[in-house]
């Protein structure tokens, strides 16, 4: 039986914080896309996978530093996101939701194939080359993977939130999200901004991929974490940006503690808990804490 003491509580809460921020960063891609296209990009999980393998290949085979790897992952993610918008989301505007769900599921497999092709013989579990570094804060041991994950994920969420709130580009993207016709009437390039939003979502997926890979290593099952991160997006409300930090932290705590307390009896219970949380949010408060409710007319 696992016992919760002050010591294990501190360790687990810190890990929950790290994973929570990573979940928030992973879920961010869903929210950015949902704001402008009112749709969920089901290709995001393998987009993250593709970016993670890009970072792995760049950092190990090409021997580049971690900063270059992050940039490469973000660039690949942005290109993939922009391609999704141009080739799939744009032609499907105005079609029923199932069309976009199915088309992005198709893209899901395309990205998976590309990730496998990039990875080559590194497809099975590998880890990013991280410096060995540890620091102690009481019972909590912090190593390089924690720092990288915290820095990348926290920085990413803060940067995207600041971009949306304080820059002219952010204002324009918010306008397009709020009312595309009104934005077009004011002369905003709606198509361009929509594509840019998808590209930013992809780049966010790329950065989040490195943060996740720092914690878990690079492996084909990374996509599962991204699907779990949907729970964070839904909890925050799919059209909120900064609120996702709260969603991610709740998910991180639920995930870490259900794994810690029940993982010995029920292996992999954290995953089940994440999806239970998702189902619970959908049934009780489908539009999340910060989301806006949609009203329908005929």
């Amino acid at each position: 039986m696992v016992v919760l003491t002050a010591q294990t509580a501190a360790v687990n809460t810190f890990q929950a914080l790290v994973m929570g921020l990573v979940f928030a960063a992973l879920g961010l891609g869903f929210n950015i896309v949902y704001r402008v296209s009112k749709s969920i990009n089901l290709a995001h999980p393998t987009l993250v996978l593709l970016a993670a393998y890009t970072a792995l290949v760049v950092s190990t085979r090409l021997g580049a530093g971690m900063a270059v790897a992050v940039a490469a992952a973000a660039a690949v993610g942005a290109a993939a996101g922009a391609a999704l918008e141009v080739l799939i989301a744009r032609p499907l505007r105005g079609r029923p939701p199932i069309a976009l769900i199915a088309a992005t599921l198709g893209a899901y497999y395309v990205f998976k194939a590309l990730a496998k092709m990039i990875a080559g013989d590194m497809w099975t579990t590998a880890s990013l080359p991280l410096p060995t570094f540890t620091a102690r804060f009481g019972p909590v041991v912090v190593d390089a993977s924690d720092l990288l994950a915290l820095g990348l994920a926290g920085g990413l969420v803060a940067a995207v939130a600041a971009l949306h709130r304080y820059t002219r580009l952010g204002v324009a993207m918010r306008a397009v999200a709020e009312d595309p016709y009104g934005a077009a009437a004011y002369g905003l390039p709606v198509r361009m901004l929509t594509m840019l939003s998808w590209a930013i979502a992809g780049a966010a997926g790329g950065v989040a991929a490195v943060a996740l890979a720092a914690k878990t290593g690079v492996e084909p099952s990374l996509e599962v974490y991204v699907i779990e991160a949907l729970a964070a997006s839904l909890l925050a409300g799919l059209d909120s940006i900064a609120g996702i930090v709260l969603g991610g932290l709740v998910l991180g705590l639920v995930y870490q503690y259900s794994n810690f307390l029940l993982g010995t009896i029920l292996p992999g219970f954290g995953e089940a808990a994440a999806f239970t949380l998702m189902l619970f949010v959908l049934l009780v408060k489908p539009y999340g804490i910060f989301g806006t409710e949609r009203i329908e007319r005929v």
């Binding site: 199932i98 198709g106 899901y108 239970t276």
Partner: protein, 351 residues
């Protein structure tokens, strides 16, 4: 007056087999299915596998194509049906009871068990639609597989004893008896589904699919229709799962994972959503029958030497195919075939 086949009664106009070519097609289809076992044991197992997935795809086509309720949990519902049979047989055998023929007798019960779970899955659909409903079914799919994995089948595989698959000294686990039984059940299920689509329930489902708020205004009980669509789709998945348990040596949860649900959804959408029988059939033929036989030809063509191997090539083609059909051919393969038919009807004078 142009030449043609004319109907004098509504009953004739509504019949499933209306034109001489329908009767010819039926005769040809029956002949091919009856004689297929002569082509060897592999074709029998391939056809049985296709029939199992056809039933599941028809069920998903009722839920998603007819009633417009997106479900990413059809694979897990198949699992419910398969485990309902396998676990009951296992429990009976452990209790010292006779299990003779139970794998066959329990097929309807497996359908009902899956339908009960399907009704649970319908609960989110009362409040949610579109993406949110898809998310809910995705969560349900993963949770069901988790339950299979940890509680129902921790040993990864339940094998039913041979006597459970034997009735009157005929073993229905493989060969001709299994083949004809599966084909017969599939034919009955397909005919029933075709008629559901033409009934008042089917029309109510189409109304809910096209616009559920409008449907409720004209007096359709939307919640009841959605629940029925989920329950019917799940019933078909349960029957398919029970037949899966019958035709395969053992039941293991990895056959019912999210990938199976995505495959089934892809079959429905590539074949033709809303065209319950023909759409599902075309989807299963392309994405299950042709697909499972691509490994050897692709390897011999040299794709195995490519980075990522045959798997990556198959993922790539599969993904591009699904995305292409959804974007360019929303009616699916059946829509392509209809255009071909129209073209040939007027050929060679296309005016």
């Amino acid at each position: 007056m142009p030449a043609g086949v004319f109907k004098e009664r509504y009953a004739e106009l509504m019949a499933h087999l209306r034109y001489p070519i329908h009767w010819a097609g039926l005769a040809l289809g029956v002949a091919v299915l009856a004689l297929l076992p002569l082509a060897g044991a592999y074709s029998v197992s391939l056809a049985a596998d296709a029939a199992v997935f056809l039933i599941a795809a028809i069920g998903l086509n009722i839920t998603t194509g007819l009633a417009g309720q997106i479900s990413l949990a059809q694979g897990a519902l198949m699992g419910v049906g398969a485990y309902a049979v396998a676990k009951t047989v296992e429990a009976l055998a452990a209790g010292g009871h006779s299990v003779a023929g139970m794998a066959l007798l329990l097929i309807p019960a497996a359908g009902l068990a899956a339908a009960a779970v399907g009704l649970l899955l319908a609960l989110p659909s009362f409040r949610l639609k579109g993406y949110y409903l898809a998310m809910a079914s995705l969560a349900a799919q993963v949770l069901l597989v988790y339950i299979f994995k940890t509680i129902i089948d921790p040993q990864q595989g339940i094998t039913m004893p041979d006597e459970a698959k034997t009735v009157a000294d005929i073993y229905f686990g493989d060969g001709y008896p299994m083949y004809y039984l599966v084909i017969a059940i599939t034919a009955v299920m397909a005919l029933a589904a075709a008629n559901i689509g033409r009934s008042s329930v089917g029309r109510a489902m189409k109304a809910v699919r096209d616009n559920d708020v409008s449907a409720s205004i004209v007096g359709i009980d939307v919640a009841r229709t959605k629940a029925l669509a989920f329950a019917l789709g799940a019933f078909y998945a349960g029957i398919a799962g029970a037949l899966y348990a019958l035709t395969n040596n053992s039941v293991a949860w990895d056959a019912f994972e999210l990938a199976t649900s995505i495959d089934l959804l892809a079959m429905v959408l590539v074949g033709g959503a809303g065209r319950i029988i023909w759409g599902s059939l075309l989807g299963v033929l392309l994405l299950r029958v042709v697909w499972s036989n691509l490994d050897a030809p692709l390897s011999s063509l040299g794709f195995i030497n490519l980075v990522g191997g045959v798997d990556a090539v198959k993922y790539l083609v599969f993904g591009l195919l699904v995305a292409y059909f959804v974007v360019k051919e929303p009616e699916g393969l059946i829509g392509v075939l209809r255009r071909v038919k129209e073209y040939l009807r007027l050929w060679p004078f296309s005016y």
